[in-house]
Symmetry: C2
Subunit: 446 residues, 2 copies
Amino acid sequence: MSMNIQLPAPVTWQEASSETRAKLLSRPVQAVSAALREQVAAIIDKVASEGDAALLELTARFDGVRLQSPELSMDKVAEIAEQAPARVKAAIDQAYNNIRAFHLAQKPSDVALETMPGVYCEQKFAALARVGLYIPGGSASLPSTVLMLGVPAQIAECSERVLISPPNPQGELTPAICYAAIKCGVTGVYLGGGAQAVAALALGTESIPAVDKIFGPGNSYVTEAKQQVSQRAGGPAIDLPAGPSELLVIADDSAEPAFVAADLLSQAEHGPDSQVILLSPSAAMIAAVREALAKQLATLPRAEITNQALASSSLILTQDLAEAVAISETYAPEHLSLQLDDCEPWLPKLTRAGSIFVGHYTPESGGDYATGTNHVLPTYGFARNYSSLGLLDFYRRYTVQTVSPEGLADLGNTIVDLAAEEALDAHLRAVSLRLESTRFQRDTQK
Amino acid sequence: MSMNIQLPAPVTWQEASSETRAKLLSRPVQAVSAALREQVAAIIDKVASEGDAALLELTARFDGVRLQSPELSMDKVAEIAEQAPARVKAAIDQAYNNIRAFHLAQKPSDVALETMPGVYCEQKFAALARVGLYIPGGSASLPSTVLMLGVPAQIAECSERVLISPPNPQGELTPAICYAAIKCGVTGVYLGGGAQAVAALALGTESIPAVDKIFGPGNSYVTEAKQQVSQRAGGPAIDLPAGPSELLVIADDSAEPAFVAADLLSQAEHGPDSQVILLSPSAAMIAAVREALAKQLATLPRAEITNQALASSSLILTQDLAEAVAISETYAPEHLSLQLDDCEPWLPKLTRAGSIFVGHYTPESGGDYATGTNHVLPTYGFARNYSSLGLLDFYRRYTVQTVSPEGLADLGNTIVDLAAEEALDAHLRAVSLRLESTRFQRDTQK
């Protein structure tokens, strides 16, 4: 293969202008064109008015497969699952066990407290009733995403757990996806992709139940459709704002250049807009990683895509590790890898990341598949204000309060005085009328 | 006062057509006009390009107050706070204590688990760094909203806790708001309202720091501005989708008609689009509540607004309590009041509500102010898929994993086989290259 390998030149942070610094950490612009927005809105309207027929027509148009029904029966799913190779089944079993164990440990507990005598407050967690799990299609089969969405939905015991994914040319899903879906006990499997699949989950069709929350990654049509349906009055909730994938590695002289390069490449291969950044206080390490990148890149099947992503990435020489840590906290990467002999002192300072990979033997791909953590993570700087997907995202919290007559006698003045301050008289009277009632006299003399 | 009191006629659920049933539970349409959307977008653009100057100009235009600076210094806030009447201070103190106690009890714990030998996974909670608390202005002072947003931000120890609220005619905020702000230890107080205040929090100005998440209720401009800024690339998160306030009461013959009427009125007085629903298996109770409503309404200062809200509300006769409970679960009210002698059997079946008020002596206004629960709740049916505001909303969750060389030796095949299934070679090589390295040989022989 002959390819013009494009690796960014290393830049010294201390010597960089503020413009250069901003450019080094800038993300690819995610412009949603008005045309795309309108196209997605039209697809949603079409699914809203025509239901299954719209979904089947759009699946024929965009996925090139003409189906009789969007449903893949659970019997058929189980049958296809059996065809998965033993190695793939074993890998899914192990990943499932780790993901299940880690998400089970996240199980929330209700809170109950008597805030004052006679005033009882509770916070309760209820599983979302109906969740929709979108699994992207395209060139590859993505059983890992089935596990990342399906396992927490299963632990939460969401009563409807509906999976939708674009069909392969046979009008089915891969054995690996079916095997993972069976492991997670999904309650329904449907065929469809893009904005039309999201619309079907949001609005329901003759075959597909409408859901309360939509989870899962996707292309720009899927992302825009999730945004649009979540903005509708009474629309479903969605998991996270989406963006291209990112990895930031902090490495010192203790790192293994080949390991660092392999991790940077594994992130870069996701797509041409993936972003990878290396921060190191060691010029020798940066040079060695650069060399390893060129060597490893040459032998990768997805070298073209990977090369494009690398071309817009950054290799940054920092003064010391403290500066690298500060830059990472500003950037707030989706994935953060620490390839240092001694990570402990830095971990308390590093919180702005979706997921952190500690030490030389924790490849980023470990978290993508099998350590147990979730791979649905905030990207595009959203690690500063959004959470990594976890079990809690499959629950709602609501509160319950119970006030005894005696409790109201004690708390009443507080409510009355605040309602008066806020000029809400009916609020005030709901208390005063109770306290002045003959029933209150009776009930407090019991 | 002469007013044409408009109370809805009671409807028997079993006799209602499906159209009538849908209408009884339908919510006021929340149409955002294209004009409002464009006006809000223009305001956001103006604040983005002109900063403080834009905010001051728009405050002069919409709030009728010409300010020198949008900042109200913390010294000034403390000085104004002192002017609050003793009764109001005492009420805020008591409400603060209850809200603080209940939100402290919600403190999350980090999770740590060895999912396999040598594979350590952690889920950690980090407070959001910078939060913006929007407090609506208008006719009344709303110290309760300061507490509902400020107390959890204080417990989480968000490092910047910025409050913004429209100025009163003196170019200040009320003593009660200032007193509550001081109690919650907010770090900055600013003057501004509407879309321009939301834009200032989202984008920052010369005076106002940009924040990571915006909390708080507001009118249609505020709501639309929150939606728009949260959709921007790298924009702030927001708390909840907004809608008009709602109360659903389930009452049986054990209820006190005057108490039920008082609660329905306290919800209806919020605004003409507020919605109140009474469900009861007792025709006598519905008739008695109707009578009490007319009697109490006549003496309320906000009777006009309240009357409008009542006109579009529903009084529904159900077959039994089970039917009432099922209707409530379909409607998913923001506030749910159970005025029954025996609530216990029904509570496990009632989870789709923002907050539940149990028994005859738990007025809905108790939760608005002082029981300890939060009054920022999902409305408009969002109680089926969004959470009531709580301490967790002031944190982000992120994960950390550490794999030992031995752990990678055990987990490696799983990652390799899944990466092969997903055709992501660089992901695979990040593992195989480590396992085949001389460094791995050395590190596992230690």
